[in-house]
């Protein structure tokens, strides 16, 4: 597309501002809290998010960075950022941001063929398809390339067997990307293939996993003789690691992806005021210099995180960061979240140990958020893996020894849980 076809960012911003003002209400509880208390509520939230996505589509603001031929607007990350800034404080389809738009739609755009993209991208942009990632397996969290789920060719189809885990929203989602092993004689990275498949079908049994905070949002899936047509394969046979590497890149970028519509956090917090001052207020500590120091430290981390993400997303030719920059953002986000969750916990004092959900406001969540704080360093690839990526790919340090790298995968030791 030639440059004159593209609307300039400021005029787009003004149009977006007017449209958002007329068509989207203020942020709702469901936009700020990812998972509802009951399944009924969560399904209602999901349906509301689908409807919001449809409203964006009908208003001409869905898929800002998606190509026009697949129903998007064909604009730039700067346009998406302008929209996200204007969206601050408004309701939006929060449940569709991740993983539907990034990494799933981003992977489809990058590796799907024309027919696949025409079939799915418009439906995603209209809120008709919510996507999940069938990536991790029970046998190995960070060692994604060690996938044991198998896909065996059968005529024009593939037959899939195995299990996947840590899949958010799978119990109500529509489609999934799945990484499966298609060649057991090749080394582990060279025998994988990526497919897409509908989630709600007889061969897929879904188990809800209860986390320590009671959330049952994450799922484990058991696939038994699931038939996938070869036309739903994404990328070449046995070349799934090429797709998988970019998939994980898009996962690390997550909600900061230019494909994701999501209000800019800073502006939202400016409007709402920080929940940490709310917590300190509830605990009667707003005048306590120690508490103030913690509030200031948390604000510092928030501002630095935002600045870092912006730097990483605009890294240009002068940058020596390249495609592995997302690992820096991932590591920093994890560490920063852990510290902020700890600060919230410390500010809350005994309200973190026993609380009244009606009366204690933001302080009521501080204790459980603290118990769950390491999810920020685990989900989406652990911070340990991010550190390996930074050290080895960004800084060029020697790779960790990997005795499984050149072995035919069927000979790789897999511990006591042999397949």
């Amino acid at each position: 597309m030639s440059a004159p076809d593209i609307e300039d960012v400021e005029s787009f911003r003004l149009r977006a501002r007017a449209w958002i003002g007329e068509n989207l209400g203020p942020a709702q509880h469901a936009d700020l809290h990812p998972f509802a208390d009951t399944d009924e509520e969560e399904l209602a939230n999901a349906n509301r998010d689908r409807a919001l996505q449809r409203r964006l589509f009908d208003g001409g603001f869905a898929g800002i960075c998606f190509p026009r031929e697949y129903g998007g607007l064909g604009l730039t990350p700067a346009h998406q950022r302008a929209f996200n800034e204007e969206l601050a404080g408004h309701e939006y389809p929060s449940r569709l941001a991740v993983p539907t738009f990034s990494p799933c739609a981003a992977v489809l755009l990058e590796f799907g063929d024309d027919e696949q993209k025409r079939r799915h991208i418009p439906r995603i942009l209209k809120g008709e398809e919510v996507w999940c990632q069938f990536l991790s397996e029970p046998s190995g969290g960070s060692d994604v390339a060690g996938a044991l789920t198998s896909a065996v060719r059968d005529g024009d189809d593939w037959i899939l067997n195995g299990s996947k885990v840590w899949t958010s929203t799978a119990w109500w989602g529509d489609w999934a990307l799945i990484l499966a092993r298609t060649n057991w004689d090749a080394p582990k990275h060279r025998g994988l293939t990526v497919f897409m498949l509908p989630i709600q079908q007889p061969g897929i049994e879904i188990r809800r996993i209860e986390r320590l905070n009671g959330s049952t949002e994450s799922c484990e899936e058991f696939l038994t003789d699931v038939r996938v047509p070869d036309s739903d394969r994404i990328g070449a046979v046995d070349d799934g690691w090429t797709v998988g590497s970019r998939w994980m890149h898009h996962e690390r970028v997550g909600s900061n992806s230019p494909y994701v519509t999501r209000p800019v956090a800073a502006s939202a917090s400016v409007r709402r005021g920080s929940s940490l001052t709310e917590i300190a207020g509830a605990a009667g500590r707003l005048d306590d210099p120690t508490a103030q120091g913690l509030i200031g430290e948390a604000r510092m981390l928030q501002l630095v995180s935002e600045a870092l993400l912006q730097r990483l997303s605009t890294a240009g030719p002068r940058s020596n960061l390249g495609e592995h920059a997302s690992a820096v953002g991932r590591l920093f986000a994890g560490m920063s979240h852990v510290r902020r969750a700890t600060i919230a916990f410390e500010l809350a004092g005994d309200l973190a140990g026993a609380w009244d959900e009606q009366d204690d406001g933001a302080a009521a969540a501080a204790g459980m958020n603290f118990l769950m704080r390491q999810t920020a360093c685990i989900g989406g690839g652990t911070t340990e893996i991010a550190r390996n990526v930074i050290a080895e790919r960004l800084l060029g340090m020697p790779r960790e020894p990997a005795p499984d790298r050149e072995l035919p995968f069927r000979e790789v030791p897999r511990g006591p849980r042999q397949r």
């Binding site: 400016v270 409007r271 709402r272 005021g273 920080s274 940490l276 001052t277 709310e278 207020g281 707003l286 210099p289 103030q292 120091g293 913690l294 509030i295 200031g296 430290e297 604000r299 510092m300 981390l301 501002l303 630095v304 995180s305 600045a307 870092l308 912006q310 730097r311 990483l312 605009t314 890294a315 240009g316 002068r318 940058s319 960061l321 820096v328 590591l331 920093f332 560490m335 340990e384 991010a386 550190r387 390996n388 930074i390 050290a391 080895e392 960004l394 800084l395 340090m397 020697p398 960790e400």
Partner: protein, 378 residues
């Protein structure tokens, strides 16, 4: 540092970088260790010719920026200063020149011209500030007819023993006043202090009934609060960018060491325990770059959130810059604490900067007050 430099900015940065490589080698820094000034006059005037002191000064007053965003251009100079642990009173001369230009350069034309040419050195004597000052530090400035009278103590004041000019910030009935005082004024006493840095010198300046004509006042008596706030932001931009440059140098040096130093038959860079620490340091370095750049851009654009971003930059870089430098020392082992190794030049610079214009703890308080105000307004 910035990803989006214009060709003019790149040329400007490169010019200063080449000049510093030549004139501020680590060998030269060591020679300056026992020099009373820590820099020589010729070095400073040559630097001023390159534009080091003119970027925050309006064109009408004889200054001018490279890109239209003076604070951003200045951050490029400061970054290079950090990468070389370069000598010279970059912060105070820029803050003083900025202050005089802010107040309308005509009133202090000669002093401003001197700062722009590098012939004059100014020291900032901060006797009142929104951050904590040391015990006993504080300056009162009162009006007495056609004169102002200055009393009190300001420290640390950079290069005060070398400076001809003192930009004094003090209190007048709870408001800030700024006065430009010659160091030769009766009642001014300058006592050199010992300091962390190899080339940067500090002094304690005492004012004992120092009487100056009203024409010495910069701006209005009791009217300098906002101007001083912006000067502190400019100082914060310089200090942040300089520390990022020094972090970059320390990190690069340590990374190279990790590849070249073998122990138990393998390079340090092959140990995962150490690789992960380098990864942490890399993330701090990138985050420090990011917030320093954001702060510089916000100050240049006089954005509403400039003060907050400067405080976030100073707090983050103050804390994690020092952590990074100390971890670099640890990864070097014993050689890291020797004078002969260059690492300490950067450790010193980062550590010194942390203490100036508000420590991280002070900036946390500034950020917290803003958050609490916002929370109360919501």
């Amino acid at each position: 540092m910035l990803f989006t430099l214009t060709p003019d900015q790149e040329f400007f940065r490169e010019t200063t970088a080449r000049f510093l490589a030549e004139r501020a080698s680590t060998r030269r820094l060591r020679q300056l260790r026992d020099d009373p000034a820590g820099f020589d006059a010729d070095y400073w005037t040559k630097g001023a010719e390159l534009g080091w002191t003119s970027l925050l000064v309006s064109e009408a007053d004889g200054g001018g920026s490279v890109s239209g965003a003076g604070a951003v251009d200045l951050s490029l100079v400061a970054h290079e200063f950090g990468r070389h642990a370069a000598p010279g009173p970059l912060v105070d001369c820029n803050v003083a020149a900025f202050a005089l230009s802010q107040a309308g350069g005509a009133a202090h034309r000669e002093a401003l011209d001197g700062l722009l040419s590098g012939a004059a050195i100014a020291a900032c004597c901060i006797g009142a500030a929104p951050w904590r000052l040391g015990a006993g530090v504080g300056v009162e400035i009162r009006r007495d007819g056609h004169e102002v009278v200055i009393n009190g103590l300001a420290r640390p004041a950079e290069s005060a023993a070398q400076a001809g000019l003192l930009l004094v910030t003090g209190r007048t009935d709870g408001r800030l006043t700024q006065v430009l005082a010659p160091t030769t004024a009766p009642g001014v006493a300058v006592k050199p202090l010992k300091g962390l840095d190899v080339t940067r010198r500090f002094a304690a300046v005492t004012f004992d009934d120092v009487r100056l004509p009203m024409s010495a006042v910069v701006g209005e008596v009791g009217g300098a609060d906002a101007a001083f706030g912006r000067q502190a932001q400019a100082a914060g931009v310089i200090l942040a960018a300089e520390s990022v440059g020094a972090m970059e140098a320390a990190f690069a040096m340590t990374l190279e060491w990790a590849f070249n130093r073998y122990t138990f038959g393998r390079p340090l860079a092959s140990y995962q325990a150490l690789k992960h620490r380098f990864a942490d340091m890399k993330s701090w370095l990138e985050a420090a770059h990011a917030i320093a750049d954001r702060a510089a851009a916000a100050v240049a654009g006089e954005a509403d959130d400039a003060a907050e971003l400067v405080s976030a930059a100073r707090a983050f870089i103050g804390r994690y810059g020092v952590e990074l430098a100390q971890d670099c020392v640890q990864l070097h082992g014993g050689i890291g604490v020797t004078y002969e190794h260059d690492l300490h030049l950067f450790l010193r610079r980062i550590t010194l900067n942390r203490t100036l214009y508000g420590a991280p703890e002070d900036h946390h308080q500034v950020l917290a007050r803003r958050e609490i105000e916002r929370g109360a307004a919501a």
